[in-house]
């Protein structure tokens, strides 16, 4: 790390030492010379030699720390129950629905497949033992990606600050952070996301430093690699959008400067623009779509996710009851049908024997929207004014037409779809919808006018393709699904209401999905096959809706974004009781608090540097270099931190502690850069240079030791705790529960 120089103890430094001879005010020459070697494209030979060795060293440490005790505990931990299960779905090719894009789970599935996992483990709940099932491959894959974060961060900081100590400090922080270790050791999306994210940042930084030789091979390489990684990050979780923003802002800034460079012709500028559009927009988009193409090709069997998607989409899945089926095309009286709400992820119109509880409108039978297929979703279409037996072959088949007034009878309970001027259970301004009447005999509140959107009166109604509106004749309201989940009494199904606000939203539109009428000829449904673009759009709508649907309930303690940087509360990965093998996701508090303090420190330094520069104070070349690192390098990282942290304050969905880890990576890099700069700056006040070098080295060493020692204290958090809880004085973790909110 130190520059080897002959006669290091000599008071006067030879001008040739480290190739630093440069003209400057003589009085600064000695006193302000900085020990670590200021950033210069040409690094001192010794440091240059140390770099690959240091890289190899931190990489090795990183892999060792992530792979240590990887198979422990041999049971399902925390969200492995989701992502492991989804990996299995890929191996089994069953269709499922998740709020995240598919890449992460596909990679997990692939890793499992390659390592000999057969997809048979059910991943039912945390704590289930793996027994003979091979799970190491999937964990190992995640751990591998998680280990790569350290060298990536090392290289990024090295590139930005040109300072080996800063890069090493960052690497040590990430290696010895218990949180990063824990998060990398299990079958989760986070290591995959962070891998792509850091890789994108690294390639962006590398590409920036190739700016002096544009269109060279390495420039193209890093630029396209940035694009690839962006697609990867976006493909794992939508949080990847933040890094896309970061790269986007960087690119705009870059292009703006190129535009201002009058030595470049407009043609050259156009080339720059095109190259970036190609690598950073077209390439990632193509990859992203390819991911989905693979996703939909692999998952071709019907599975638990069907109900979230539209009828047309379901007809593509092998095993779905809509697959390759043929149904009667036009709706007739006497047909048995299911009705699906057209909202994305809308449910089927459903009813069951249970009544609305007292105090919730009239005490009649519940009508809800239900996402799964069920016999209780079946309804019979009847004429409003006659009750003749329509299956009687003597009666001619009569089709339902646009504008007809009909009655819908629930097949299982023989009650009519009914509405009246009682307020709906959750949406107080809507009317309640119930099942009413006995054996199909009700009252005039059971009459509904059926209308097809954009069709004239008298036209027939088509299965699946017609978008239908049901207007309640007596009150004039429209049957709709509010999308709100009913409480326990409604089996947490979705509320169905009759809305008096006559707006054509998907909430109040329905289509007929199943259609059973033995007296009508069947047609095949292949005509409905949606295009890839439609599938893509639909799956995104469903994912976005699913994401925003993850709302916290009242009276539930949830994690708040401000908890995260202060390491307020962790997540229990495994084990609750004293006898369990317990793993607790919590950042190494020393590191996290150091990061937190550093953010404040950085802002202070950056503002004072910016003001100093703006005031036009003459700086020495060393200080100029330091200010460049602080403002430019640190600024980029700071921007990354802000982009990955602040948006969470505006999110309405349920948040968890582990959402902070991408931001934490940036925060750690900032810590490396800031402390290195600060130490250099402080050491600069000492003369002669030997003392200043000692101050600098001492400070650096103290920081590293602090990090390593704190890791020694807290390592059981990641590598497993057995025995009494930390509140017990006999526990190895006794005295380490520094905050009451930590639960270990």
């Amino acid at each position: 790390m130190r520059r080897a120089r002959p006669g290091a103890g000599a008071l006067r430094m030879p001008a040739a030492g480290g190739g630093q001879a440069r003209p400057g005010p003589p009085r600064h020459r000695e006193s302000r010379r900085l020990p670590g070697g200021p950033a210069r494209p040409a690094a001192p030979p010794a440091q240059a030699a140390a770099r690959p060795a240091a890289l190899a060293f931190v990489t090795l440490l990183s892999f060792a720390s992530r792979f240590h005790r990887l198979p422990e505990p041999p049971h399902v931990c925390w969200d492995e129950t989701h992502f492991g299960k989804m990996g299995s779905y890929y191996i089994n090719r069953t269709f499922f629905f998740d709020v995240h894009p598919p890449l992460g789970k596909m990679l997990i599935g692939l890793a499992g497949y390659l390592s000999g996992y057969d997809g048979t483990f059910p991943f039912q709940k945390p704590g289930d033992r793996y027994e003979q099932h091979s799970y190491i491959g999937m964990r190992g894959f995640c751990a591998f990606l998680g280990s790569c974060l350290v060298p990536f961060a090392y290289l990024t900081v090295l590139e930005l600050s040109k300072s080996l100590p800063a890069a090493l400090l960052t690497a040590f922080i990430l290696i010895f952070d218990t949180g990063c270790i824990t998060l990398s050791q299990y079958i989760l999306l986070d290591p995959i996301l962070m891998f792509f994210l850091m890789a994108a940042v690294l390639s962006m930084v590398k590409c920036n430093s190739c700016a002096d030789r544009p269109f060279s091979a390495s420039w193209w390489f890093w630029l396209s690699l940035t694009g690839v990684n962006l697609a990867g990050a976006m493909g794992v979780k939508f949080v990847g959008l933040f890094v896309v923003l970061l790269v986007g802002l960087n690119t705009i800034y870059d292009l703006w400067n190129l535009l201002g460079n009058l030595s470049l012709s407009l043609v050259t500028f156009g080339k720059h623009l095109l190259a970036r559009a190609l690598c950073l927009i077209v390439l990632p988009l193509a990859l992203y779509m390819a991911m989905f193409a693979v996703h939909f090709t692999v998952l071709n069997k019907s599975g638990p996710g069907d109900g979230f998607f539209s009828s047309a989409f379901q007809s593509q899945l092998v095993g779905n009851n809509l697959h390759n089926v043929s149904v009667p095309e036009h709706l007739a009286y006497g047909s048995v049908v299911t009705m699906k709400n057209l909202r994305m992820a809308g449910g089927y119109l459903h009813s069951h024997w249970h009544l609305y509880p007292e105090g919730v409108g009239a005490r009649q039978q519940q009508v809800t929207a239900y996402l799964h297929k069920d016999l209780n979703n079946l309804w019979i279409i009847k004429k409003h004014d006659s009750d003749t037996d329509l299956s009687n072959p003597a009666v001619p088949v009569e089709f339902v037409r646009h504008g007809d007034i009909i009655r819908l009878e629930h097949k299982e309970t023989s009650r009519n779809l009914h509405s009246h001027q009682h307020e709906a259970p959750l949406t107080r301004k809507h009317f309640q919808v119930t099942g009413y009447g006995i054996n199909g005999t009700g009252d005039s509140n059971d009459f509904w006018r059926i209308e097809v959107v954009g069709r004239k009166a008298g036209k027939l109604i088509k299965v699946l393709r017609s978008q239908v509106r049901l207007t309640h004749v007596a009150t004039g309201c429209i049957l709709g699904s509010s999308g709100k989940t009913l409480p326990k009494w409604g089996w947490e199904q979705v509320e169905v209401t009759c809305t008096p606000y006559l707006k054509d939203t998907p909430n109040s539109l329905w289509n007929f999905e199943d259609h059973i009428n033995p007296r009508l000829p069947n047609i095949s449904l292949d005509v409905l096959k949606p295009s890839f673009a439609e599938i893509l759009l639909e799956s995104h709508m469903v994912m976005i809706r699913g994401n925003s649907g993850l709302k916290p309930k009242d009276n539930e303690v949830t994690s708040k974004p401000w908890h995260w940087p202060i390491n307020y509360q962790g997540l229990r990965f495994s084990g609750v009781n004293e006898t369990d093998y317990r793993v607790y996701l919590l950042g190494n508090p020393v590191i996290w608090w150091l990061n937190l303090v550093t953010i404040g420190l950085y802002l202070l330094i950056a503002v004072s540097t910016a003001v100093t520069l703006k005031r036009g104070v003459q700086l020495t070349s060393e200080h100029k270099e330091l200010s460049r690192v602080v403002l430019h390098g640190g600024g980029q990282i700071m921007l990354g931190w802000l982009l990955h942290y602040l948006p969470f304050f505006m999110m309405g969905r349920v948040l968890y502690f582990h959402h902070y880890f991408p931001a934490m990576l940036f925060s750690s890099m900032l810590t490396g850069i800031t402390w290195d700069t600060l130490l250099k700056f402080c050491a600069g006040f000492f003369s002669p240079s030997t003392i200043s070098r000692k101050v600098y080295g001492g400070g650096f060493l103290a920081l590293v030791l602090l990090i390593v020692y704190s890791f020694y204290l807290f390592h059981p958090l990641s590598y497993g705790m057995i025995g009494p809880m930390a509140s017990d004085p006999n526990s190895p973790m006794a005295g380490l529960r520094w905050m009451d909110s930590w639960e270990f």
């Binding site: 009276n555 303690v557 509360q569 505006m650």
Partner: protein, 776 residues
């Protein structure tokens, strides 16, 4: 639009470096209303003496310059907003909402309104106070006739005045941005003839007041900035700087939307200060002074003002009222009547033997008290799980004798307070005895009825099966200052931690089924993840128990409490609580017939019916001037594209317009387009029900942009004289069309005269507008 000045003073967003000398004489806005012409600088003494003699000889003259156009637009503004103000004499739209608060102010009854801070409500109430309103009116439906005691005119006066004054403010802002008088006059007329602003100003609503303060803040900042160059720290410099801060805080105090403009002005101030830092003409010390002055005026004063609004609010409203139960017990006890009547004179410190009621601090879904009754949990629940069959413990939303509990020392048998009382402290272990049934509060490893992941809480009945009593609870005072703190009535927030299982007594939020009388479920939470209000309880009613026998105790429990100690909350504690409630109180998401999405606003695809005459077709709508809205959109579009064009060309060092004009263009756009953006774009992120009137502040800024763009086009893009005159003619034609549209829609703006059905149908220019047509 073609009378722009050649060498106006430059007000710029960018650095003023390198333009040291400019002439002051050119840059005074010519004669604002009532400005006094300054006397010439004093000459040497001899001449002075001569002149003094001259003054004696000549008559004493004060020359006053009056800007007739400014006065004219002000008068027109007042006329348009104040004409027939008390018509219709009925509740119009949101008057029904704000009116109830005015009534509560008149009666001094405390309320919480989550729609915003209290300053706006107070201004409306001021109108009621001046008009001698006694608050007796039932604000129950839109369209209800006002009774004789309601001073309609004075209630609507303040918003109308504020709306009228926006007209001259617009004029002044354009002048301060260094645009011509023609442009300024244009801006004023556009604001004047904007139907939606007229409608919104004429009723007891807050938007016009908000817009007034926003514009005032912008204007005073511009005045301050223009004074900056030659007279820093002068009297008028201070005046305008302070006025900026005051106007900002008033805007925020009226509605939280004002925050957006406040932030914009702070950002502009920051940017200007950043340029000052780079300016070597300022010494370091003077920079610090400048910084401190801005911090004082733009941060300190707004914060103080904001606090003072709440101070006045809380001072005015001292009686208990309909929203009491949202607040904590301590807050309720500070109001006159209500809880204070009960808690007046309770003993402060909870002691062993105290009889208490325990209120859950969360207050959601309703406020409730820890409760038990003789009924037991059913042996089997509907879903087949079993229970302990012990006595139910619930949380009950009404005052009841079954809410009383007695704090007992586990080591002693007595249920009365000893003399002297032994107070309970943080960390002490107690038993809680239900007063009426004398059973002990208990929890054990049995799943709770509705939340099976938590433990059941019961009052222990010994069935002689192997289920021992586990009734020891540790008292943890959450808001204590030290470990030896006493448990205080009302003030202390307490957690009860079960000694055996370390479960925490918690309100789960679910309600029990039929067998539990739909009361709220109380559980023991084993995995308590940090602090949550549902686990915290406070003592509300409290007295020292005196009767040892059960019969006596029942009589005692039924009797009202007495004794005295009074409690007072500090203002800051009250403020913090009220502010927190205002920000976190979530009304149920409501759908409204006239709600709209932000995208509908730019094209005005929506309207709001404010009022309909009970018999005739006369009606009032919030409906803008179509031509103005469209022009404003076009202006914003032109501004953005033209700026981008200039920017890109400048980056390539091609300068299309003179530097002065560019600075003018940037600064004007920064304020007007920036004002539009900050007041509009955030709505896309909001989840509450939105209405067209939320767009009005943004619209005001957008309208100011029209004359700016027009003058720029006229000065820089229409160079040939022929083109110039054609341009002027077009502008005049366009203005007359705006006037025509204003006149066409004025019947639905003012509610007079009543229109016939075909006339109403003719007004429905867009299918999405909802003009009310009475069925014949």
């Amino acid at each position: 639009m073609t009378c722009g000045r050649a060498g106006g003073r430059v007000w710029a967003l960018s650095s003023p470096q390198g333009r040291g000398s400019w002439s002051r004489s050119l840059c005074l806005p010519r004669g604002t209303a009532g400005s006094v012409v300054p006397l010439p600088p004093s000459p040497p003494f001899g001449e002075t003496f001569d002149r003094m003699l001259g003054i004696v000889k000549k008559p004493f003259v004060v020359a006053v310059e009056i800007n007739i156009s400014l006065v004219a637009v002000t008068v027109m503004g007042l006329m348009s907003r104040l004409w027939g103000l008390s018509y219709p004499r009925a509740v119009v739209f949101d008057e029904v909402y704000y009116g109830q608060f005015v009534s509560l102010y008149m009666k001094r009854i405390f309320f919480v309104d989550d729609s915003g801070p209290p300053f706006g409500h107070m201004l409306l109430a001021l109108g009621g106070y001046l008009g001698g309103f006694d608050g007796n009116f039932l604000w129950n439906r839109i369209g209800a006739e006002y009774s004789m005691n309601v001073p309609v005119w004075s209630l609507r006066l303040l918003p109308a005045l504020a709306g009228a004054l926006c007209v001259p403010l617009a004029y002044q802002i354009l002048i301060e941005l260094h645009f011509s008088h023609c442009a300024a006059l244009g801006a004023a007329l556009l604001i004047l003839l904007e139907n939606s602003l007229v409608t919104q100003s004429r009723f007891m609503l807050l938007e016009s007041i908000l817009i007034f303060f926003i514009l005032l803040a912008v204007l005073s900042y511009l005045k301050f900035y223009n004074l900056q160059r030659h007279s820093s720290f002068s009297g008028s410099w201070w005046f305008w700087l302070l006025l900026t801060g005051v106007a900002c805080s008033c805007a925020v105090g009226v509605k939280y939307m004002g925050l957006f403009t406040y932030m914009l002005l702070l950002a502009v101030t920051g940017l200007h200060f950043w340029h000052m830092i780079g300016d070597q003409n300022f010494s370091n010390v003077s920079l610090v002074y400048h910084f401190l002055a801005r911090g004082l005026a733009l941060i300190l004063i707004p914060v103080t003002m904001y606090l003072s609004f709440f101070y006045v609010h809380l001072t005015l409203l001292y009686r208990s009222g309909p929203h009491d139960q949202i607040m904590t017990s301590a807050f309720q006890a500070s109001l006159e009547g209500g809880l204070a009547r009960i808690t007046q004179g309770q003993p402060l410190e909870v002691a062993y033997g105290s009889q208490i009621t325990l209120r859950n601090v969360l207050g959601k879904p309703v406020q409730c008290w820890l409760h038990s009754h003789t009924n037991t949990y059913p042996i089997r629940y509907e879903n087949g799980r079993g229970s302990s069959h012990q006595q139910q413990v619930t949380c009950y939303p009404f005052k009841d004798v079954n809410n009383w509990w007695i704090v007992k020392d586990p080591g002693m048998q007595q249920l009365v307070v000893s003399n002297p009382p032994r107070p309970v402290r943080h960390g002490h272990i107690v038993q809680l005895v239900h007063g009426i049934t004398t059973r002990y509060l208990n929890t054990h490893d049995v799943a709770a009825p509705i939340s099976p992941h938590s433990q059941e809480v019961s009052c222990y009945i010994d069935y002689n099966i192997s289920m021992p009593a586990q009734n020891l609870w540790r008292v943890e005072i959450v808001n204590r200052e030290s470990d030896t703190d006493l448990w205080k009535t009302i003030l202390s927030e307490v957690r009860f931690v079960h000694v055996n299982t370390s479960a925490v007594l918690k309100l789960s939020g679910a309600s029990l089924p039929e067998w539990g009388y739909r009361q709220l479920e109380v559980v023991g939470e084993k995995l308590s993840k940090g602090y949550h209000q549902s686990m915290v309880w406070n003592v509300e009613e409290h007295r020292y128990g005196k009767s040892q026998g059960q019969k006596d105790r029942e009589v005692e429990l039924h009797s009202p409490t007495q004794m005295d100690i009074s409690k007072n909350l500090s203002f800051m504690a009250k403020f913090t609580e009220l502010q927190w409630k205002i920000l976190t109180l979530k009304n149920e998401e409501t759908e409204h017939k006239y709600s709209s999405s932000p995208l509908d606003w730019i094209t005005m695809d929506t309207n709001i019916a404010y009022w309909l005459h009970p018999t005739s077709g006369a009606q009032i709508h919030l409906l803008g001037n179509v031509v103005t809205w469209a022009s404003a959109d076009v202006a914003a579009l032109i501004y953005t594209s033209l700026s981008l064009w200039y920017l890109v060309r400048r980056q390539r060092k091609i300068y299309d317009i003179p530097e002065d004009a560019w600075q003018l263009w940037v600064s004007a756009g920064g304020i007007c387009l920036g004002g539009w953006a900050v007041n509009y774009l955030p709505f896309f992120l909001m989840e509450k029900t939105l209405f067209l009137y939320h767009y009005l502040p943004a619209l005001t800024f957008q309208i100011l942009l029209i004359p700016i763009v027009l003058q720029h086009l006229g000065n820089h893009l229409c160079r040939p004289p022929l083109l110039k005159s054609m341009f002027s003619a077009l502008v005049i034609a366009w203005f007359s069309s705006i006037y025509l549209v204003y006149c066409t829609f004025s019947p639905v703006t003012y509610g007079e005269p009543s229109l016939s059905v075909p006339e109403l149908k003719d007004l429905r220019w867009k299918d999405s507008w909802n003009i009310l047509i009475r069925k014949q």
